[in-house]
Protein backbone atom coordinates (compact mmCIF):
# COMPACT_ATOMS: atom_id res chain seq x y z
CA UNK A 1 0.00 0.00 0.00
CA UNK A 2 1.38 3.42 -0.89
CA UNK A 3 2.14 5.76 2.00
CA UNK A 4 0.21 8.57 0.37
CA UNK A 5 -2.57 8.06 -2.07
CA UNK A 6 -4.58 10.85 -3.64
CA UNK A 7 -7.56 10.45 -5.98
CA UNK A 8 -9.37 13.23 -7.83
CA UNK A 9 -8.61 15.78 -5.20
CA UNK A 10 -10.30 19.15 -5.65
CA UNK A 11 -10.28 22.32 -3.64
CA UNK A 12 -12.27 25.41 -4.48
CA UNK A 13 -11.99 28.64 -2.56
CA UNK A 14 -14.73 31.19 -2.49
CA UNK A 15 -13.54 34.71 -2.15
CA UNK A 16 -15.66 37.74 -1.61
CA UNK A 17 -15.17 40.33 -4.24
CA UNK A 18 -15.35 43.87 -3.14
CA UNK A 19 -15.56 46.77 -5.51
CA UNK A 20 -13.54 49.80 -4.52
CA UNK A 21 -14.90 52.76 -2.64
CA UNK A 22 -17.95 53.54 -0.60
CA UNK A 23 -20.48 52.31 -3.12
CA UNK A 24 -18.60 49.06 -3.46
CA UNK A 25 -18.59 48.59 0.28
CA UNK A 26 -22.31 49.19 0.56
CA UNK A 27 -23.11 46.99 -2.40
CA UNK A 28 -20.99 44.17 -0.97
CA UNK A 29 -22.88 44.43 2.28
CA UNK A 30 -26.23 43.62 0.74
CA UNK A 31 -25.28 41.55 -2.25
CA UNK A 32 -21.82 40.10 -1.78
CA UNK A 33 -20.31 38.98 -5.05
CA UNK A 34 -18.42 35.72 -4.86
CA UNK A 35 -15.62 34.56 -7.01
CA UNK A 36 -14.64 30.93 -7.03
CA UNK A 37 -11.07 29.95 -7.39
CA UNK A 38 -10.08 26.38 -8.25
CA UNK A 39 -6.82 25.87 -6.43
CA UNK A 40 -6.63 22.12 -7.05
CA UNK A 41 -8.58 20.58 -9.94
CA UNK A 42 -8.81 16.84 -9.51
CA UNK A 43 -5.29 15.57 -9.04
CA UNK A 44 -4.31 11.95 -8.33
CA UNK A 45 -0.97 10.48 -7.35
CA UNK A 46 0.72 7.94 -5.07
CA UNK A 47 3.82 8.12 -2.94
CA UNK A 48 5.62 5.06 -1.62
CA UNK A 49 6.95 4.71 1.91
CA UNK A 50 10.42 6.20 2.21
CA UNK A 51 10.21 7.89 -1.17
CA UNK A 52 11.58 11.32 -1.98
CA UNK A 53 8.91 12.98 -4.06
CA UNK A 54 9.10 16.49 -5.40
CA UNK A 55 6.15 18.73 -6.11
CA UNK A 56 7.03 21.59 -8.32
CA UNK A 57 5.12 24.47 -9.81
CA UNK A 58 4.88 28.24 -9.87
CA UNK A 59 3.27 30.27 -7.08
CA UNK A 60 -0.44 29.62 -6.85
CA UNK A 61 -0.25 26.33 -8.74
CA UNK A 62 -1.87 24.42 -5.88
CA UNK A 63 1.19 22.81 -4.31
CA UNK A 64 0.67 24.25 -0.85
CA UNK A 65 -3.05 23.61 -0.96
CA UNK A 66 -2.38 19.94 -1.70
CA UNK A 67 0.11 19.63 1.14
CA UNK A 68 -2.29 21.39 3.50
CA UNK A 69 -5.02 18.93 2.60
CA UNK A 70 -2.64 16.04 3.23
CA UNK A 71 -1.80 17.34 6.72
CA UNK A 72 -5.46 17.88 7.55
CA UNK A 73 -5.24 21.66 7.65
CA UNK A 74 -7.72 22.09 4.81
CA UNK A 75 -10.83 20.13 3.98
CA UNK A 76 -10.98 19.29 0.26
CA UNK A 77 -14.03 20.22 -1.78
CA UNK A 78 -14.16 16.69 -3.17
CA UNK A 79 -11.98 13.68 -3.83
CA UNK A 80 -10.16 11.19 -1.66
CA UNK A 81 -6.82 11.09 0.05
CA UNK A 82 -5.18 8.72 2.44
CA UNK A 83 -1.94 9.26 4.29
CA UNK A 84 -0.55 6.23 6.11
CA UNK A 85 -4.01 4.69 5.88
CA UNK A 86 -5.80 7.67 7.39
CA UNK A 87 -8.04 10.34 5.97
CA UNK A 88 -6.18 13.51 6.96
CA UNK A 89 -9.12 15.85 7.55
CA UNK A 90 -11.02 13.26 9.58
CA UNK A 91 -8.16 11.73 11.55
CA UNK A 92 -5.98 14.80 11.80
CA UNK A 93 -4.72 14.30 15.34
CA UNK A 94 -3.85 10.60 14.94
CA UNK A 95 -2.10 11.35 11.71
CA UNK A 96 -0.13 14.21 13.19
CA UNK A 97 1.72 11.74 15.42
CA UNK A 98 2.99 9.97 12.28
CA UNK A 99 3.92 12.85 10.05
CA UNK A 100 6.05 15.95 10.36
CA UNK A 101 5.56 19.18 8.51
CA UNK A 102 7.47 22.35 7.85
CA UNK A 103 5.89 25.36 6.21
CA UNK A 104 8.66 27.63 5.06
CA UNK A 105 6.56 30.73 5.45
CA UNK A 106 5.11 29.82 8.82
CA UNK A 107 7.71 29.26 11.51
CA UNK A 108 6.78 26.82 14.26
CA UNK A 109 9.61 27.68 16.62
CA UNK A 110 8.75 30.21 19.30
CA UNK A 111 10.28 33.46 18.23
CA UNK A 112 11.47 34.75 21.59
CA UNK A 113 12.67 31.45 22.99
CA UNK A 114 15.74 29.35 22.23
CA UNK A 115 14.91 26.43 19.92
CA UNK A 116 15.57 23.93 22.69
CA UNK A 117 12.55 25.26 24.61
CA UNK A 118 10.28 24.63 21.64
CA UNK A 119 11.84 21.17 21.32
CA UNK A 120 10.85 20.36 24.89
CA UNK A 121 7.39 21.77 24.31
CA UNK A 122 7.07 19.55 21.24
CA UNK A 123 8.13 16.67 23.44
CA UNK A 124 4.99 17.29 25.49
CA UNK A 125 2.84 17.84 22.43
CA UNK A 126 3.96 14.51 20.91
CA UNK A 127 3.90 12.75 24.29
CA UNK A 128 7.56 11.75 24.10
CA UNK A 129 9.39 10.23 26.99
CA UNK A 130 11.85 12.67 28.57
CA UNK A 131 14.93 10.47 28.18
CA UNK A 132 14.04 9.49 24.61
CA UNK A 133 13.53 13.13 23.78
CA UNK A 134 16.99 14.05 25.06
CA UNK A 135 18.60 11.33 22.97
CA UNK A 136 16.59 12.35 19.97
CA UNK A 137 17.55 16.02 20.33
CA UNK A 138 21.22 15.05 20.62
CA UNK A 139 21.00 12.95 17.46
CA UNK A 140 19.19 15.59 15.42
CA UNK A 141 21.41 18.37 16.72
CA UNK A 142 24.39 16.50 15.41
CA UNK A 143 22.84 15.58 12.08
CA UNK A 144 21.67 19.15 11.45
CA UNK A 145 24.80 20.73 12.93
CA UNK A 146 22.80 22.91 15.27
CA UNK A 147 24.37 21.99 18.63
CA UNK A 148 25.74 25.51 19.02
CA UNK A 149 22.45 27.17 18.09
CA UNK A 150 19.98 25.46 20.38
CA UNK A 151 20.42 27.82 23.32
CA UNK A 152 20.12 31.02 21.28
CA UNK A 153 16.75 32.78 21.05
CA UNK A 154 15.34 32.01 17.61
CA UNK A 155 15.00 35.67 16.69
CA UNK A 156 18.79 35.93 16.74
CA UNK A 157 19.39 33.06 14.29
CA UNK A 158 19.99 33.52 10.59
CA UNK A 159 17.28 32.27 8.24
CA UNK A 160 19.33 29.21 7.23
CA UNK A 161 20.07 28.30 10.84
CA UNK A 162 16.46 28.78 11.76
CA UNK A 163 15.27 26.56 8.93
CA UNK A 164 17.60 23.74 9.98
CA UNK A 165 16.16 24.02 13.50
CA UNK A 166 12.64 24.01 12.04
CA UNK A 167 13.23 20.79 10.12
CA UNK A 168 14.91 19.21 13.15
CA UNK A 169 11.85 20.13 15.24
CA UNK A 170 9.56 18.42 12.76
CA UNK A 171 11.58 15.20 13.08
CA UNK A 172 11.55 15.00 16.89
CA UNK A 173 8.75 12.44 16.97
CA UNK A 174 10.32 10.19 14.28
CA UNK A 175 7.63 10.79 11.68
CA UNK A 176 7.30 8.33 8.80
CA UNK A 177 6.57 11.09 6.33
CA UNK A 178 7.91 14.60 6.25
CA UNK A 179 5.93 17.22 4.35
CA UNK A 180 8.04 20.20 3.43
CA UNK A 181 6.35 23.21 1.90
CA UNK A 182 8.88 25.59 0.40
CA UNK A 183 11.57 24.88 2.99
CA UNK A 184 14.25 26.70 1.06
CA UNK A 185 12.38 29.93 0.55
CA UNK A 186 14.61 32.93 1.10
CA UNK A 187 17.75 30.87 1.74
CA UNK A 188 21.07 31.58 0.05
CA UNK A 189 22.81 28.95 -2.06
CA UNK A 190 25.05 27.60 0.70
CA UNK A 191 22.22 27.36 3.20
CA UNK A 192 20.06 25.60 0.62
CA UNK A 193 22.71 23.00 -0.07
CA UNK A 194 23.26 22.36 3.60
CA UNK A 195 19.56 21.89 4.20
CA UNK A 196 19.22 19.52 1.23
CA UNK A 197 22.15 17.43 2.39
CA UNK A 198 20.66 17.04 5.85
CA UNK A 199 17.25 16.06 4.57
CA UNK A 200 18.84 13.49 2.30
CA UNK A 201 20.84 12.07 5.19
CA UNK A 202 17.75 11.71 7.37
CA UNK A 203 16.03 9.91 4.53
CA UNK A 204 18.94 7.48 4.27
CA UNK A 205 19.28 6.90 8.03
CA UNK A 206 15.63 6.64 9.03
CA UNK A 207 13.84 5.99 5.77
CA UNK A 208 11.54 8.93 6.35
CA UNK A 209 9.53 9.68 3.23
CA UNK A 210 9.72 13.25 2.03
CA UNK A 211 7.12 15.11 0.04
CA UNK A 212 8.68 18.38 -0.92
CA UNK A 213 7.19 21.39 -2.63
CA UNK A 214 9.32 24.07 -4.07
CA UNK A 215 9.38 26.54 -6.84
CA UNK A 216 13.14 26.08 -6.97
CA UNK A 217 13.92 23.23 -9.35
CA UNK A 218 17.34 22.92 -7.74
CA UNK A 219 15.77 21.52 -4.58
CA UNK A 220 13.98 18.82 -6.52
CA UNK A 221 16.95 18.07 -8.71
CA UNK A 222 19.23 17.58 -5.72
CA UNK A 223 16.82 15.69 -3.50
CA UNK A 224 14.11 13.85 -5.34
CA UNK A 225 13.98 10.72 -7.41
CA UNK A 226 10.53 11.41 -8.73
CA UNK A 227 8.83 14.64 -9.60
CA UNK A 228 5.29 15.83 -10.11
CA UNK A 229 4.87 19.08 -11.95
CA UNK A 230 1.72 20.96 -11.22
CA UNK A 231 0.39 24.01 -12.95
CA UNK A 232 -2.88 25.80 -12.44
CA UNK A 233 -4.18 23.09 -10.12
CA UNK A 234 -3.49 20.20 -12.47
CA UNK A 235 -0.69 17.71 -12.84
CA UNK A 236 1.06 18.43 -16.10
CA UNK A 237 3.88 15.92 -15.77
CA UNK A 238 5.01 13.09 -13.55
CA UNK A 239 8.01 10.84 -13.84
CA UNK A 240 11.48 10.13 -12.54
CA UNK A 241 13.70 13.18 -12.39
CA UNK A 242 16.23 11.39 -14.61
CA UNK A 243 13.62 10.52 -17.26
CA UNK A 244 12.37 14.02 -17.20
CA UNK A 245 15.78 15.35 -17.94
CA UNK A 246 16.45 12.77 -20.67
CA UNK A 247 13.16 13.34 -22.41
CA UNK A 248 13.35 17.04 -22.33
CA UNK A 249 17.04 17.32 -22.96
CA UNK A 250 16.38 17.78 -26.60
CA UNK A 251 17.65 21.30 -26.84
CA UNK A 252 21.45 21.36 -26.88
CA UNK A 253 23.65 24.32 -26.40
CA UNK A 254 27.02 24.14 -28.14
CA UNK A 255 29.98 26.36 -27.51
CA UNK A 256 32.76 25.76 -30.02
CA UNK A 257 36.33 27.24 -30.33
CA UNK A 258 38.69 26.89 -33.27
CA UNK A 259 42.44 27.26 -33.75
CA UNK A 260 41.97 29.16 -37.00
CA UNK A 261 39.74 32.02 -38.12
CA UNK A 262 36.17 31.26 -39.19
CA UNK A 263 34.38 32.74 -42.12
CA UNK A 264 32.01 35.47 -40.87
CA UNK A 265 28.95 33.82 -42.47
CA UNK A 266 29.54 30.53 -40.66
CA UNK A 267 26.28 28.55 -40.37
CA UNK A 268 24.90 25.03 -40.22
CA UNK A 269 21.50 23.71 -41.40
CA UNK A 270 18.92 23.27 -38.60
CA UNK A 271 21.09 25.08 -36.06
CA UNK A 272 20.34 28.47 -34.62
CA UNK A 273 23.48 30.62 -34.31
CA UNK A 274 23.41 32.60 -31.11
CA UNK A 275 26.75 34.31 -31.55
CA UNK A 276 29.49 34.01 -34.14
CA UNK A 277 32.96 35.34 -33.35
CA UNK A 278 36.26 35.18 -35.19
CA UNK A 279 37.53 32.02 -33.45
CA UNK A 280 34.36 30.47 -32.16
CA UNK A 281 30.57 30.39 -31.95
CA UNK A 282 27.64 29.69 -29.66
CA UNK A 283 24.65 27.89 -31.03
CA UNK A 284 21.50 26.00 -30.12
CA UNK A 285 19.54 23.21 -31.81
CA UNK A 286 16.74 20.78 -31.15
CA UNK A 287 18.12 17.23 -31.27
CA UNK A 288 14.79 15.81 -32.40
CA UNK A 289 14.77 17.95 -35.52
CA UNK A 290 18.47 18.02 -36.16
CA UNK A 291 20.34 14.87 -35.06
CA UNK A 292 23.46 15.43 -32.96
CA UNK A 293 25.90 13.45 -35.07
CA UNK A 294 25.83 15.47 -38.35
CA UNK A 295 26.06 18.72 -36.36
CA UNK A 296 29.19 17.59 -34.55
CA UNK A 297 30.56 16.24 -37.84
CA UNK A 298 29.97 19.53 -39.58
CA UNK A 299 31.59 21.42 -36.73
CA UNK A 300 34.70 19.21 -36.96
CA UNK A 301 34.81 19.65 -40.71
CA UNK A 302 34.70 23.44 -40.45
CA UNK A 303 38.27 23.71 -39.16
CA UNK A 304 40.79 22.74 -36.50
CA UNK A 305 38.79 22.32 -33.28
CA UNK A 306 40.23 23.75 -30.08
CA UNK A 307 37.30 23.00 -27.76
CA UNK A 308 33.64 21.90 -27.84
CA UNK A 309 31.15 21.99 -24.98
CA UNK A 310 27.69 20.57 -25.36
CA UNK A 311 25.43 21.47 -22.46
CA UNK A 312 21.99 20.34 -21.49
CA UNK A 313 19.26 22.62 -20.24
CA UNK A 314 18.79 22.95 -16.47
CA UNK A 315 15.69 21.48 -14.89
CA UNK A 316 14.48 25.03 -14.55
CA UNK A 317 14.45 25.42 -18.32
CA UNK A 318 12.91 22.00 -18.81
CA UNK A 319 10.02 22.90 -16.57
CA UNK A 320 9.60 26.17 -18.37
CA UNK A 321 9.23 24.19 -21.57
CA UNK A 322 6.65 21.90 -19.98
CA UNK A 323 4.52 24.79 -18.78
CA UNK A 324 4.72 26.36 -22.19
CA UNK A 325 3.55 23.13 -23.77
CA UNK A 326 0.73 22.67 -21.24
CA UNK A 327 -0.50 26.16 -21.93
CA UNK A 328 -0.25 25.69 -25.68
CA UNK A 329 -2.38 22.54 -25.36
CA UNK A 330 -5.00 24.39 -23.36
CA UNK A 331 -5.42 26.92 -26.13
Amino acid sequence: MPAVSVRNLRKTFQTKRKAAGLRGALAALFRPAFQTLDAVRGISFDMEEGELLGFIGPNGAGKSTTIKILTGILHPTSGEASVLGRVPWRQRQELAFQIGSVFGQRPQLWYHLPAIDTFYLFGKIYELDEADLRRRIALLAEAFEIEQLLETPVRKLSLGQRMRCEVAASLLHKPRILLLDEPSIGLDVVAKQRLRATIQRMNEIEGVGVLLTSHDAGDIEALCKRVIIINDGEIVYRDKVSTLRRRYLTVKHVDVRYNEQLSPDFSLPGVEMLKVGRFGAKMRFDARVTPVEPVIGALAAAGGLADVTVSEPTLEEVIGAIYARAEAENE
Binding site: A39, S64, H75, F103
Partner: protein, 265 residues
Protein backbone atom coordinates in the same frame (compact mmCIF):
# COMPACT_ATOMS: atom_id res chain seq x y z
CA UNK B 1 -9.11 17.76 28.94
CA UNK B 2 -7.33 15.87 31.72
CA UNK B 3 -5.26 14.00 29.13
CA UNK B 4 -4.09 17.30 27.74
CA UNK B 5 -3.15 18.82 31.08
CA UNK B 6 0.60 18.09 30.96
CA UNK B 7 0.68 19.58 27.50
CA UNK B 8 -1.21 22.68 28.63
CA UNK B 9 1.16 23.09 31.55
CA UNK B 10 4.11 22.88 29.18
CA UNK B 11 2.52 25.53 26.95
CA UNK B 12 1.88 27.86 29.85
CA UNK B 13 5.40 27.37 31.04
CA UNK B 14 6.76 28.29 27.61
CA UNK B 15 4.54 31.39 27.65
CA UNK B 16 5.92 32.38 31.00
CA UNK B 17 9.53 31.92 29.92
CA UNK B 18 8.76 33.94 26.82
CA UNK B 19 7.27 36.73 28.91
CA UNK B 20 10.26 36.72 31.22
CA UNK B 21 12.43 37.72 28.26
CA UNK B 22 10.66 41.05 28.70
CA UNK B 23 10.01 41.01 32.40
CA UNK B 24 10.06 44.77 32.89
CA UNK B 25 7.36 45.22 30.31
CA UNK B 26 5.39 42.33 31.81
CA UNK B 27 5.50 43.76 35.31
CA UNK B 28 4.68 47.31 34.21
CA UNK B 29 1.66 46.04 32.33
CA UNK B 30 0.57 43.94 35.27
CA UNK B 31 0.88 46.71 37.83
CA UNK B 32 -0.54 49.23 35.37
CA UNK B 33 -3.63 47.11 34.86
CA UNK B 34 -4.14 46.74 38.61
CA UNK B 35 -4.00 50.51 39.02
CA UNK B 36 -6.27 50.93 36.02
CA UNK B 37 -8.92 48.72 37.60
CA UNK B 38 -8.52 50.39 40.97
CA UNK B 39 -9.07 53.83 39.42
CA UNK B 40 -12.16 52.57 37.67
CA UNK B 41 -13.52 51.21 40.91
CA UNK B 42 -13.17 54.65 42.49
CA UNK B 43 -16.18 55.64 40.38
CA UNK B 44 -18.34 53.12 42.23
CA UNK B 45 -16.98 54.22 45.60
CA UNK B 46 -17.95 57.80 44.80
CA UNK B 47 -21.29 56.70 43.38
CA UNK B 48 -22.36 54.60 46.33
CA UNK B 49 -21.02 57.19 48.74
CA UNK B 50 -23.69 59.51 47.41
CA UNK B 51 -26.53 57.15 46.45
CA UNK B 52 -25.92 54.21 48.81
CA UNK B 53 -27.65 51.57 46.69
CA UNK B 54 -29.32 50.89 43.36
CA UNK B 55 -32.24 48.52 43.69
CA UNK B 56 -30.62 46.44 46.36
CA UNK B 57 -27.04 46.55 45.07
CA UNK B 58 -24.50 48.28 47.25
CA UNK B 59 -20.78 48.83 47.29
CA UNK B 60 -20.15 45.44 48.86
CA UNK B 61 -21.89 43.76 45.93
CA UNK B 62 -19.64 45.72 43.62
CA UNK B 63 -16.55 44.43 45.44
CA UNK B 64 -17.75 40.86 44.93
CA UNK B 65 -18.70 41.58 41.33
CA UNK B 66 -15.33 43.08 40.45
CA UNK B 67 -13.66 40.22 42.30
CA UNK B 68 -15.30 37.55 40.16
CA UNK B 69 -15.19 39.42 36.84
CA UNK B 70 -11.58 40.57 37.13
CA UNK B 71 -10.39 37.18 38.35
CA UNK B 72 -12.30 35.37 35.60
CA UNK B 73 -11.31 37.78 32.89
CA UNK B 74 -7.70 37.87 34.07
CA UNK B 75 -7.30 34.11 34.39
CA UNK B 76 -9.15 33.48 31.13
CA UNK B 77 -7.24 35.92 28.98
CA UNK B 78 -3.93 35.11 30.64
CA UNK B 79 -4.18 31.36 30.18
CA UNK B 80 -6.01 31.57 26.85
CA UNK B 81 -4.56 34.81 25.55
CA UNK B 82 -5.32 34.08 21.91
CA UNK B 83 -9.02 34.30 22.72
CA UNK B 84 -8.55 38.03 22.18
CA UNK B 85 -7.14 37.62 18.68
CA UNK B 86 -8.64 34.41 17.36
CA UNK B 87 -10.31 36.28 14.55
CA UNK B 88 -7.06 37.43 13.01
CA UNK B 89 -5.53 33.98 13.53
CA UNK B 90 -8.34 32.56 11.43
CA UNK B 91 -8.33 35.30 8.80
CA UNK B 92 -4.57 35.28 8.37
CA UNK B 93 -4.31 31.51 8.15
CA UNK B 94 -2.31 31.19 11.34
CA UNK B 95 -4.23 28.10 12.42
CA UNK B 96 -2.02 26.03 10.08
CA UNK B 97 0.52 25.56 12.81
CA UNK B 98 -1.98 24.21 15.33
CA UNK B 99 -3.63 22.06 12.68
CA UNK B 100 -0.34 20.37 11.86
CA UNK B 101 0.21 19.23 15.45
CA UNK B 102 -1.54 16.35 17.19
CA UNK B 103 -3.52 18.34 19.76
CA UNK B 104 -7.01 19.86 19.83
CA UNK B 105 -6.73 22.92 17.60
CA UNK B 106 -8.90 25.28 19.59
CA UNK B 107 -7.33 24.47 22.95
CA UNK B 108 -3.84 24.62 21.52
CA UNK B 109 -4.42 27.90 19.70
CA UNK B 110 -6.08 29.62 22.65
CA UNK B 111 -3.43 28.63 25.17
CA UNK B 112 -0.49 29.54 22.97
CA UNK B 113 -0.35 33.11 24.11
CA UNK B 114 -0.47 34.84 27.45
CA UNK B 115 -1.67 38.36 27.79
CA UNK B 116 0.60 40.25 30.20
CA UNK B 117 -1.93 42.79 31.42
CA UNK B 118 -4.32 39.96 32.26
CA UNK B 119 -2.05 38.98 35.11
CA UNK B 120 -2.85 42.40 36.57
CA UNK B 121 -6.59 41.84 36.16
CA UNK B 122 -6.27 38.49 37.87
CA UNK B 123 -4.37 39.89 40.84
CA UNK B 124 -6.77 42.81 41.10
CA UNK B 125 -9.68 40.38 41.14
CA UNK B 126 -8.18 38.40 43.98
CA UNK B 127 -7.59 41.59 45.96
CA UNK B 128 -11.13 42.78 45.31
CA UNK B 129 -12.51 39.45 46.50
CA UNK B 130 -10.30 39.59 49.59
CA UNK B 131 -11.54 43.10 50.32
CA UNK B 132 -15.14 41.95 49.85
CA UNK B 133 -14.64 38.97 52.14
CA UNK B 134 -13.08 41.07 54.89
CA UNK B 135 -15.53 43.95 54.46
CA UNK B 136 -18.54 41.64 54.64
CA UNK B 137 -17.06 39.80 57.60
CA UNK B 138 -18.32 36.50 56.21
CA UNK B 139 -15.18 34.80 54.95
CA UNK B 140 -15.06 31.03 55.13
CA UNK B 141 -13.41 28.11 53.38
CA UNK B 142 -16.70 27.39 51.66
CA UNK B 143 -16.83 30.93 50.32
CA UNK B 144 -13.35 30.49 48.88
CA UNK B 145 -14.52 27.29 47.21
CA UNK B 146 -17.55 29.07 45.77
CA UNK B 147 -15.30 31.88 44.55
CA UNK B 148 -13.08 29.36 42.80
CA UNK B 149 -16.02 27.73 41.10
CA UNK B 150 -17.58 31.07 40.18
CA UNK B 151 -14.33 32.30 38.62
CA UNK B 152 -13.96 29.09 36.63
CA UNK B 153 -17.47 29.50 35.30
CA UNK B 154 -16.70 33.10 34.38
CA UNK B 155 -13.60 31.95 32.48
CA UNK B 156 -15.57 29.27 30.65
CA UNK B 157 -18.40 31.53 29.52
CA UNK B 158 -16.16 34.47 28.64
CA UNK B 159 -13.79 32.39 26.53
CA UNK B 160 -16.70 30.57 24.91
CA UNK B 161 -18.35 33.85 24.01
CA UNK B 162 -15.14 35.23 22.52
CA UNK B 163 -14.64 32.04 20.51
CA UNK B 164 -18.25 32.06 19.29
CA UNK B 165 -18.12 35.64 18.07
CA UNK B 166 -14.75 35.25 16.40
CA UNK B 167 -15.65 31.91 14.80
CA UNK B 168 -17.92 33.97 12.58
CA UNK B 169 -14.69 34.91 10.83
CA UNK B 170 -14.85 31.53 9.08
CA UNK B 171 -18.03 32.66 7.34
CA UNK B 172 -17.82 36.43 7.02
CA UNK B 173 -14.07 37.05 7.04
CA UNK B 174 -12.23 39.29 9.43
CA UNK B 175 -14.55 41.75 11.14
CA UNK B 176 -12.50 43.55 13.79
CA UNK B 177 -15.30 46.00 14.60
CA UNK B 178 -17.76 43.24 15.38
CA UNK B 179 -15.26 41.53 17.64
CA UNK B 180 -14.37 44.79 19.34
CA UNK B 181 -17.99 45.70 19.98
CA UNK B 182 -18.89 42.25 21.24
CA UNK B 183 -15.91 42.34 23.59
CA UNK B 184 -16.79 45.80 24.91
CA UNK B 185 -20.41 44.80 25.35
CA UNK B 186 -19.74 41.71 27.42
CA UNK B 187 -17.18 43.38 29.65
CA UNK B 188 -19.25 46.53 30.18
CA UNK B 189 -22.46 44.66 30.93
CA UNK B 190 -20.76 42.28 33.30
CA UNK B 191 -19.47 45.16 35.42
CA UNK B 192 -22.83 46.83 36.10
CA UNK B 193 -25.39 45.83 38.75
CA UNK B 194 -27.75 43.42 37.03
CA UNK B 195 -30.67 44.87 38.99
CA UNK B 196 -30.57 47.83 36.60
CA UNK B 197 -31.99 45.78 33.79
CA UNK B 198 -35.54 44.62 33.25
CA UNK B 199 -36.96 41.40 31.78
CA UNK B 200 -35.99 41.54 28.10
CA UNK B 201 -32.62 43.07 28.81
CA UNK B 202 -31.96 40.40 31.43
CA UNK B 203 -32.86 37.67 28.99
CA UNK B 204 -30.32 39.16 26.60
CA UNK B 205 -27.67 39.08 29.31
CA UNK B 206 -28.20 35.37 29.78
CA UNK B 207 -28.18 34.53 26.07
CA UNK B 208 -26.88 36.77 23.30
CA UNK B 209 -24.39 38.68 25.45
CA UNK B 210 -24.02 36.29 28.38
CA UNK B 211 -22.59 38.89 30.75
CA UNK B 212 -24.76 37.62 33.61
CA UNK B 213 -22.80 34.35 33.66
CA UNK B 214 -19.55 36.25 33.97
CA UNK B 215 -20.59 38.83 36.52
CA UNK B 216 -23.82 39.04 38.45
CA UNK B 217 -24.76 35.38 38.73
CA UNK B 218 -21.44 34.00 39.96
CA UNK B 219 -20.90 37.04 42.18
CA UNK B 220 -24.21 36.47 43.96
CA UNK B 221 -23.38 32.80 44.28
CA UNK B 222 -20.09 33.64 46.00
CA UNK B 223 -21.91 35.70 48.63
CA UNK B 224 -24.41 33.01 49.41
CA UNK B 225 -24.87 29.41 48.39
CA UNK B 226 -27.92 28.72 46.26
CA UNK B 227 -28.56 25.38 44.61
CA UNK B 228 -30.55 26.92 41.77
CA UNK B 229 -27.74 29.35 40.99
CA UNK B 230 -25.20 26.57 41.14
CA UNK B 231 -27.21 24.65 38.55
CA UNK B 232 -27.49 27.77 36.39
CA UNK B 233 -23.77 28.41 36.56
CA UNK B 234 -22.80 24.85 35.69
CA UNK B 235 -25.46 24.49 33.03
CA UNK B 236 -24.62 27.85 31.45
CA UNK B 237 -20.91 27.10 31.30
CA UNK B 238 -21.50 23.67 29.79
CA UNK B 239 -23.88 24.98 27.17
CA UNK B 240 -21.68 27.88 26.08
CA UNK B 241 -18.56 25.74 26.05
CA UNK B 242 -20.10 23.04 23.88
CA UNK B 243 -21.67 25.61 21.61
CA UNK B 244 -18.31 27.36 21.13
CA UNK B 245 -16.47 24.11 20.40
CA UNK B 246 -19.21 23.01 17.99
CA UNK B 247 -19.36 26.27 16.04
CA UNK B 248 -15.58 26.58 15.87
CA UNK B 249 -15.23 23.09 14.42
CA UNK B 250 -18.06 23.70 12.01
CA UNK B 251 -16.19 26.76 10.84
CA UNK B 252 -12.92 24.92 10.63
CA UNK B 253 -14.24 23.02 7.63
CA UNK B 254 -14.38 26.31 5.83
CA UNK B 255 -10.92 27.31 6.95
CA UNK B 256 -8.93 28.64 4.01
CA UNK B 257 -5.43 28.71 5.44
CA UNK B 258 -3.05 31.37 4.25
CA UNK B 259 -2.90 30.36 0.66
CA UNK B 260 -6.12 31.92 -0.46
CA UNK B 261 -4.88 35.29 0.67
CA UNK B 262 -1.68 34.89 -1.26
CA UNK B 263 -3.58 33.96 -4.40
CA UNK B 264 -5.91 36.87 -4.01
CA UNK B 265 -3.21 39.51 -3.93
Amino acid sequence: MIRHLPFLLALWKANLISAMEYRVSFLTQMVGMMLNNAFYFVFWIIFFDRFEQVQGWNLLDMFFLFGVVATGFGAGTYLFGNALRLSSLIAEGQLDYYLSLPRPVLLHALASRSNASSAGDFTYGLLSFAAAAVYSDSFSGLMLLRFLLASLAAVAVLISFLVLVQSLTFWIGNAPMLTQNAFNAIITFSLYPITLFDGTAKLLLFTLVPAAFIGALPAEFVRQFDLGQLAQICGGSAIFLSLAVFVFHRGLRRYESGNAIQVRT
